[in-house]
């Protein structure tokens, strides 16, 4: 599978170029920039989960000597409803404007209402209490099933369900309905010998990045402005701010700081437009940073779901029909990742008859943000649990069952295209051959396996490579580096140019110094920005050949190029990259290569995870004892960072499966808004996460790359829950498999 022999740099484990700054504390993250004359902004947040704002009185705050500016929604221009694609989802500008600062209603506990800038963070915080608000408190609705009922309290009077056969006349909390189908599921179930049907649920979870949202902005007298922020996509931040504040794009420079984790949730804005408005009103640079409490209450989260899945198969193990209803909580505004959930749920299977129906439901929780393969973990959890149950009932090994029904090249997906070459079968074979699968389980242990599918995306990327007189180069890209992608860019450029990685410096440029590049999301960066890097490097090579030809006074056709050396075919003379760059002033000036692309042909990625757990049956507590993550990378540019993506995804999924959940009071207040009680996995909770990199190349990428960032979070939910079910002999359908829930399942069964 591996073809690394033919490459000099691709497939090596180089030291990442930005690593030095990150291990010394020198790297500047979102909260690390301070500007001369800077003041601090803080946000006043709703104490109610659902209320109408009758009046906001900011006069006392404005009169306070420490206060430099106060901003409410009234300071923002009216924005009309309309969609904009960002990352993997759509944002509606009107909704976003009302999420950034509430208009006439607050829709979740912690919803931003007003902001104050003052000379210090403490002064701004203290002054918030001077703002007086009259609320008309309303009944909150938190649960999806409750929100879907016709008599439920409504979040929005103007929200009418999209996607129904007839345009509804009555407003609803159901924002939209989606239906996907292929074949005839009724006929499929009629042909089945065994049918499994079950309900599943997943909780509201948070992406849990360790760096809170933070920004420092400056709005100058001439209207020019600078926004420094922790984001996955500074160009999209520019576009969003420009719309929300009615500013010209040309007036906005957005600088992406180093980013301390995002996992999809740093693809939208919370603080940035508010900070800019505070800066405009105060005439001073403004810094804002969320507290951890604010991060939990008012950013992210990942959607809660309730779903029902039905799958049928014949005795010999052929799946005849798969059906699901998937209901997603969008939070306060429409736009959960219900769509990708419906599209991915059954895609690991080549089955004739499928039917999926999805609902996007608003509830009084923070507006859901993308979370690593948004929508897919919840949907595929339900599907994979049902597949495992069916395999059990048929008495077939879960790997064999999947192999028998696996999606492969030519499989017709439920959402449209046929799959190109994919690596699911290879992943399943690797699972079968893994040491873990052959290891016997001890007492109180259980094993679970699950597959996962994610599309991955391409999109726009821009890259410039500037060569220097000494033959070194700077790779200027526009994709914020969230997990080591600069190392991959360096390696792909080095491979193409034929010079050592140490001679290339990748730089993530601000919006003024590189052309538009789409947000780092959808596992697109190594694929799409990588393609742009390769194309820009090829542009450099083309020019270097021209320069060599000029030096030798021959035509370009007489130049042979290999391993970073130009050879004059006629004379045998050679010039290295450094030689050509050193004399570039005499051949027309220094050399820059450039590429602006809209990458197509992203290769979907399949993963298979294997999890062994041990359950303390007296307390219901589960520990993961062995774990193997297997995934198709197409081609691993930097294997260590590919493995890191598999391991990180696996562990986020383990947290989702075992302990993570938003706990709400009846009046809609999150009760565990901190890392103490929102329990993400710790180093002491885990074993080593074994990895297998499967490489089934994506023919649309020069090196065969598929995105690897997201798929790894999909299989763990079902792999872990199946392992727990196996250990205790009871099927767990509701996540998380927390100790009280597992204990109750054990007690109810005995």
């Amino acid at each position: 599978m591996s073809e690394s022999q033919e490459y000099k740099y691709i497939g090596q484990r180089t030291i990442r170029p930005d690593g030095f700054d990150k291990v010394t504390g020198r790297a500047d993250f979102g909260a690390d920039l301070s500007l001369p004359g800077m003041i601090w902004g803080k946000i006043l947040r709703s104490p109610h989960a659902h209320a109408r704002i009758k009046n906001i009185d900011t006069s006392k705050a404005e009169a306070h000597p420490d206060v430099m500016a106060v901003v409410t929604h009234q300071d923002f221009p009216a924005v009309s409803a309309g969609g904009f694609a960002v990352g993997e989802g759509q944002v509606d500008f009107k909704d976003l404007s009302r999420n950034v600062l509430a208009d006439d209603k607050v829709l979740y506990h912690g919803h931003a209402i007003a902001a104050i800038a003052a000379k210090s963070e403490a002064a701004a915080e203290a002054a918030l209490s001077l703002i007086e608000i009259d609320f008309d408190v309303l009944m909150p609705v938190l649960d999806i099933a409750e929100a879907m009922k016709p008599d439920s309290p409504l979040l929005h009077d103007d929200l009418f369900t999209q996607g129904l056969a007839e345009q509804p006349e009555k407003a609803s909390n159901i924002a939209s309905r989606m239906e996907l189908k292929k074949g005839d599921v009724d006929a499929g179930f009629a042909a089945a010998d065994v049918v499994v049907e079950r309900d599943f649920s997943t909780p509201t979870v948070h992406q849990g990045y360790i760096e809170p949202h933070a920004t420092t902005v400056r709005y100058d007298e001439d209207g020019q402005s600078m926004v420094w922020c922790s984001t996955q996509g500074h160009f999209d931040v520019r576009a969003i701010i420009s719309t929300l504040l009615s500013m010209d794009l040309s007036k906005l420079k957005v600088v992406a700081s180093e980013i301390g984790g995002g996992f999809g949730a740093k693809t939208t804005v919370y603080l940035e437009p508010v900070a800019l408005m505070l800066s405009k009103k105060s005439g001073r640079p403004v810094k804002m940073a969320m507290t951890r409490d604010e991060v939990f209450r008012a950013s992210g989260p990942g959607s809660a779901t309730r779903s029902r899945v039905k799958i049928g198969a014949t005795k010999d193990g052929t799946i005849t029909a798969m059906q699901a209803q998937l209901n997603y909580a969008a939070g306060a505004f429409k736009g959960s990742p219900m769509g990708p959930g419906c599209m991915t749920a059954f895609t690991p299977y080549d089955v004739e008859n499928m039917y999926v129906e999805g609902y996007d439901v608003v509830v009084n929780k923070p507006k859901a943000a993308a979370y690593r393969a948004p929508g897919a973990p919840q949907a595929e959890f339900a599907a994979e649990m049902a597949v495992n149950e069916l395999a059990d009932k048929l008495g077939i090994d879960p790997i064999e069952f999947r192999l028998q029904n696996a999606a492969k090249e030519g499989t017709q997906t439920i959402y449209g295209p046929q799959l190109k070459v994919v690596g699911l079968v290879e992943c399943l074979e690797a699972a079968k051959n893994s040491p873990q699968y052959k290891q016997a389980l001890a007492e109180n242990q259980g094993r679970g396996l699950a597959a996962g599918f994610w599309f991955n995306i391409g999109g726009q990327s821009s890259v410039v490579i500037n060569m220097k007189p000494d033959g070194t180069g700077t790779i200027v890209e526009g994709s914020p580096d969230i997990g080591g992608s600069r190392a991959s860019m360096q390696m792909m450029a080095a491979e193409t140019l034929g010079i050592d990685t140490s001679r290339l410096t990748p730089v993530v440029a601000d919006t003024e110094h590189i052309a538009y590049s789409a947000t780092t999301g959808g596992s697109r960066t190594t694929f799409a920005t990588g393609m742009a890097v390769i194309e820009a490097a090829e542009d450099v090579v083309r020019q270097l050949k021209e320069r060599a030809a000029a030096v030798w006074n021959v035509t370009v056709e007489q130049i042979d190029w290999a391993d970073g050396v130009a050879t004059n075919v006629a004379s045998g003379d050679k010039l290295s990259v450094a030689d050509i760059c050193e004399t570039a002033d005499k051949t027309g000036g220094q050399v820059s290569g450039r590429a602006n692309i809209n990458a197509r042909g992203a290769g979907p990625s399949f993963a298979v995870h294997l999890c062994d757990v041990e359950v303390d049956k007296e307390t219901g507590k589960t520990g993961v004892v062995r774990y193997t993550a297997i995934q198709d990378a197409g081609k691993a540019i930097h294997p260590s960072y590919v493995e890191g993506q598999y391991q990180g995804g696996a562990v986020q999924g383990i947290g989702w499966a075992l302990n993570e959940e938003y706990v709400y009071s009846e009046d809609g207040v999150m009760e565990n808004a901190g890392f103490l009680d929102y329990r993400i996995p710790l180093s002491s909770d885990l074993p080593m996460i074994e990895t297998v990199i499967v490489e089934v190349p994506n023919s649309f990428h020069p090196f065969g790359v598929r995105g690897v960032g997201e798929t790894g979070i999909i299989p763990p939910l079902a792999a872990v829950a199946t392992a727990v079910s196996d250990a205790i002999g009871v099927r767990m359908g509701d996540l998380p498999c927390s100790p009280p829930k597992v204990l109750k399942a054990i007690q109810d069964a005995s």
């Binding site: 403490a122 203290a126 209490s129 007296e618 307390t619 507590k621 520990g623 075992l658 302990n659 706990v663 009760e671 565990n672 890392f675 103490l676 009680d677 329990r679 996995p681 710790l682 002491s684 909770d685 927390s738 100790p739 009280p740 204990l743 109750k744």
Partner: protein, 289 residues
Amino acid sequence: MVSVVYEAPDSVQGAVALLAGAKIPARPLAGGTDLIIQLQAQKNEPCLVVDLKKISELMESTLDEEGLHLGPGMACAEFFSRDDIRSVYPGLVEAAQLIGSTQVQGRASVGGNLCNASPAADSIPALIANSASCVIVGPSGERRIAIEDFVTGVGENCLGKGELVRVIEVPRPADGTSDAYLRFIPRTEMDIAVAGVGASITLDDDGTCAAARISLGAVAPTAILVPAAAQALIGTKVDDEALLVLADAASAAAKPISDRRGTAEYRRHVVGVLAKRAASTAAERARGN
């Protein structure tokens, strides 16, 4: 965060004088791992913070014939690195070692854990099981009180204005005695106890339980001493049968609430499981003594 007036006296008398004379709310500061978080949450009137860490007698512990004289401000990390103390009170040291992360253990103290008076404090059931008491010093002199009487409610203790804990006294256990502390948390670290059990067990020469003290944490407003649980063991060989009776007695004594960390029903069950396990460990250790 509330505004703070900070003082760091170098004597107990100095600290008492500052606390007693304060015109604003006053809080002693030991490790600060609870206090600083609490001060961050407060927004109203300023607070006098009296740092006790410059008072050397509060920061030291000695072990002698009488037992352990535990300086209430001694950092847990320092406490649990003391092998001499661990050899006598393994359960108490385990409890101190469970309080928070490595970083928190570098600051947090047993005295602070006690005075913070959380129902879920790990050190309190372990202290109660070991019949510990504390000496309180204040403007009108000193008084001694048993640990089980020190905590009066959720986050409340019996310290009056100007008073502080000068020393925690843990008597030297009788021959054939050992202890254990166990807590239940959903993860392996970093969580607050959902339930906790401290057990001290004395076995006579033939392995029969002569005395026992069982204390439960996080299942009532304060840690509780459960004589019925001890009775379940006394006179037995601490065998499986006795341990089951003990578990039931512990569950029956629990009066837990439901909150984000666990339901009442779950806590009641788990405290029984923990009691069984803690007693079993303590007995095993006692057999080795």
